[in-house]
C-alpha cells in the first residue's frame, strides 16, 4: 500500500480501485471481503424500513413520470397521478419524436453532439492535465493548483454574462461552439484525475518505461492510461451528466431552436403549454422528459462498478 500521509488525512487511503489493486498486491480484495464481516450477523429491520421511506421519496417522482408518460392529454387531466388510464405510451413516444417537424429528434441529436464532443473533450483534457500535475514536477505547478482550485469557487453563472458578451463579439453565439467550448473545462474532473493518478500509477512503472526509452506520451498511452480506467469512466460519466443536463449556458447562448439541447427544448414546450392559446402538449413534455432521463439512468446503472470504485479512489483527502 502506498502510504499517503499528506496533510490532515490520517487514515484515508485509496480504497480498492477495480484494476490498480491487482498491481499493488493481493491484499485489498481480501480486505474488502473481511470488511463487513463483523457486522453481517445483525441486520436491522428498522433501519431497512427507514431507508425504504427514503427510497420511496427518491423514486416516487420517477414513477410518477413513467406512469404519466403512458397517458393521453385527456387522461392526464382525468385520472389519479399514480395510476394508469388510457394506455397511450406508444403514441406519445411517436408524437414526441414527430411533433413540430421532428424538432425533438433534432434536440436529441444536438444533445448527443454536445455530450460527445464536450464531455469527451473535457475528460481527455482533465485526464491529461491531472496526470501531468500528479506525475511531473514543473515550474508554475503551484500556480496552476492555486488558480484552478480558486476558480472552482467562482459561481459558473457569474461567468455566464461576460462569456456571452465575449462569444457574441467572436460571433460564436447561436452556434454549437458556444455550448461545446465552455463544456470542455471541468475543474472538478481535473481534481479527481489528479488525486486518482497520484495513487493509480506507480512511479516505478513510469521510471522503467522511461529507462526503456519510451517517450512521455507513449508511456502515458501504453502504461498509464490502462491504469487510469476507473478514474476516466468516473470523470467521463460526471462530465456527461453535466453536459447532458446543462440548461443555463444554452439558455443564454442560443436563440435558434434548431440548436437547442433537450433541456431547453422541454422548457420551451412547457412554456408553450402554459401559455393561453398555445398548443397544450403536456403529454409530450412528460414523455419527452422521460426520454431525456432514460439514457443517463441506464449509463449509471450499467457502469456502476467503474464509477463507484473511481469515486472512492479519488475520494476526498482531507
Amino acid at each position: 500500500m502506498t502510504s499517503d500521509t499528506s496533510g490532515m488525512s490520517d487514515t484515508i487511503r485509496p480504497a480498492q480501485p477495480a484494476r490498480p489493486a491487482r498491481l499493488r498486491g493481493a491484499t485489498p480484495p481480501l480486505r474488502a471481503k473481511a470488511r463487513h464481516a463483523p457486522h453481517l450477523r445483525r441486520r436491522s429491520v428498522t433501519l431497512t424500513a427507514l431507508m425504504t421511506l427514503m427510497v420511496i421519496y427518491s423514486l416516487l417522482p420517477l414513477a410518477w413520470l413513467a406512469i404519466n408518460a403512458t397517458k393521453s392529454q385527456n387522461g392526464l387531466f382525468n385520472s389519479f397521478g399514480l395510476w394508469f388510464k388510457d394506455f397511450s405510451f406508444f403514441s406519445n413516444i411517436s408524437d414526441t419524436f414527430t411533433y413540430d417537424h421532428a424538432i425533438f429528434t433534432r434536440w436529441l441529436l444536438n444533445t448527443v453532439l454536445y455530450v460527445v464532443v464536450g464531455a469527451g473533450g473535457a475528460t481527455l483534457l482533465a485526464t491529461l492535465a491531472g496526470y501531468g500535475l500528479a506525475k511531473f514536477d514543473f515550474p508554475g505547478k503551484k500556480a496552476v493548483f492555486a488558480i484552478v482550485i480558486g476558480a472552482v469557487a467562482v459561481p459558473g453563472t457569474a461567468l455566464a454574462v461576460p462569456t456571452f458578451l465575449m462569444f457574441s463579439k467572436l460571433g460564436l453565439t447561436d452556434t454549437p461552439w458556444a455550448i461545446i467550448i465552455p463544456s470542455l473545462i471541468s475543474p472538478f474532473g481535473l481534481y479527481l484525475m489528479w488525486t486518482f493518478s497520484t495513487d493509480a500509477v506507480p512511479k516505478e512503472m513510469l521510471e522503467s518505461a522511461r529507462v526503456d526509452g519510451a517517450g512521455e506520451f507513449r508511456t502515458f498511452f501504453k502504461v498509464s492510461l490502462p491504469l487510469l480506467g476507473p478514474g476516466i469512466v468516473t470523470v467521463l460519466l460526471f462530465n456527461v451528466v453535466a453536459t447532458w443536463n446543462n440548461y443555463f449556458l444554452p439558455l443564454i447562448m442560443l436563440k435558434d431552436p434548431d440548436w437547442y439541447p433537450l433541456t431547453l427544448g422541454l422548457n420551451d414546450w412547457n412554456m408553450q403549454a402554459q401559455t393561453a392559446g398555445g398548443d397544450a402538449v403536456f403529454n409530450l413534455v412528460i414523455t419527452g422528459s422521460l426520454v431525456t432521463i432514460v439514457p443517463l439512468i441506464a449509463a449509471f446503472l450499467l457502469l456502476q462498478r467503474y464509477w463507484q470504485s473511481g469515486l472512492s479512489a479519488g475520494s476526498v483527502k482531507g
Binding site: 490520517d10 427514503m54 420517477l62 467562482v154
Partner: protein, 308 residues
C-alpha cells in the same frame, strides 16, 4: 528493476542531468497546457472582463463611461439585490443542513452493514442526480400543481384544500425540496466514498475494546468524514448562492410567486437579458462571486481549525 538498467539512461555530467531535469519539467506542461489554455479562455478571461465591465456604465447620453466603484455602491443599496441575497442565505441555512444531515445519515446507514440490500438503496437514492434540473423541476412542478398533479388528486380525493406548494409563501420550501431530492444522493455518495477508505482494522480494534456502533461512529467515522463533509458543504454553498434553474423554470408554473429578482443570479440574468444592463449585471455577479468565496473560505477555515 529500475536500478539495474539505470546506468545507461542517467547521464553522468551534472550539466547534462540538469538539462534533462528542465526538459522533463517542460514535459509536465505539455500535459497541462491544453487544459490551461482553454481554462484561461472560459474562466480567467470572463472574470477579467466582468471586473472591467463592472467599472463602467452605459448611459443613453454620453455613451460608456468609467465610473469606478459606482456600480458597487449602487448594488449595496439595491433592495432588490438584497432581497434575493436574503432569500438564498435563508435557503443556505435551512436547506443545506437538512440535505447534508440526511446524506450523512444515509451514508452511515449504508456503510453500517446492517441493511438488507444496501447496494440497492445506494443506487436508488443516487439516481435523481442523473435527472436534469429542468426535468426534476418540471416533474415536481407538475406534481405540486392542482390541475393534474398529486396535490390536485389529493384535494379531489379527500375534498380538502391542501396548502399550495406554488404559492408565494411556500415556493422557497418547494424549491428546497426539489434541490434536496436531486442532491441528497450525490452528497451521500461523497460521504460514503470517504467512509469506504477507513482502515477496517480500526473497527475491529474498536469492537474488541467493546465500543458500540454509536461510539464507533463518533470516534472513528465522523472524524474520517471531516474532509468529505467540508467539500460537500462548500459545493452546497456554491450551489445555493447560484440558485437559478429551479426558480427560472418554476416561474412558468407559478408566475406570481417568483419575481425577476428572486435570487441574485436570477436578478443578474434579468438585468442582462431583459434589461440590457450588462455593466450592472456583471457587478451583481462579482459581488455574489466574492460572497461565495468568502463563505466557502470560512467553511474551510472552520473545518481546518477543528482538524487542528
Amino acid at each position: 528493476m529500475a536500478s539495474l538498467s539505470a546506468d545507461h539512461a542517467r547521464p553522468g555530467p551534472p550539466a547534462a542531468r540538469a538539462r534533462r531535469k528542465t526538459r522533463r519539467s517542460l514535459v509536465g506542461w505539455k500535459f497541462v497546457s491544453p487544459f490551461m489554455a482553454l481554462f484561461a479562455l472560459v474562466f480567467l478571461a470572463p472574470i477579467g472582463y466582468s471586473i472591467y465591465l463592472s467599472l463602467y456604465k452605459t448611459r443613453l447620453i454620453g455613451g460608456t463611461q468609467f465610473v469606478g466603484a459606482q456600480n458597487y455602491t449602487e448594488a449595496f443599496q439595491d433592495s432588490q439585490f438584497w432581497s434575493g441575497f436574503g432569500r438564498v442565505a435563508l435557503f443556505l441555512m435551512v436547506q443545506v443542513p437538512i440535505m447534508l444531515g440526511l446524506a450523512l445519515l444515509l451514508a452511515l446507514a449504508i456503510d453500517s452493514g446492517r441493511l438488507y440490500g444496501a447496494a440497492f438503496f445506494r443506487i436508488s437514492v443516487f439516481l435523481p442526480y442523473a435527472v436534469p434540473a429542468v426535468v426534476a423541476t418540471l416533474m415536481w412542478g407538475f406534481m405540486y400543481g392542482t390541475r393534474f398533479g398529486l396535490i390536485g388528486n389529493l384535494d379531489k380525493a379527500f375534498g380538502v384544500t391542501l396548502p399550495d406548494p406554488l404559492s408565494p409563501d411556500l415556493i422557497l420550501a418547494s424549491i428546497g425540496n426539489i434541490v434536496t431530492w436531486q442532491w441528497v444522493g450525490y452528497n451521500m455518495l461523497i460521504l460514503y466514498s470517504a467512509l469506504r477508505v477507513v482502515n477496517p482494522s480500526l473497527y475491529e480494534a474498536a469492537a474488541i475494546e467493546g465500543a458500540g456502533q454509536f461510539r464507533i461512529i463518533w470516534a472513528i467515522k465522523l472524524p474520517a468524514l471531516r474532509g468529505a463533509l467540508m467539500i460537500a458543504t462548500i459545493f452546497s454553498v456554491i450551489g445555493s448562492f447560484q440558485l437559478f434553474n429551479e426558480p427560472s423554470i418554476l416561474k412558468h408554473l407559478a408566475p406570481n410567486a417568483i419575481t425577476t429578482y428572486f435570487t441574485p443570479n436570477y436578478y443578474a440574468y434579468s438585468l442582462s437579458f431583459d434589461g440590457q444592463q450588462f455593466n450592472y449585471s456583471a457587478t451583481v455577479a462579482i459581488v455574489m462571486g466574492v460572497a461565495t468565496m468568502i463563505v466557502a473560505y470560512a467553511v474551510q477555515l472552520r473545518g481546518m481549525r477543528k482538524a487542528g
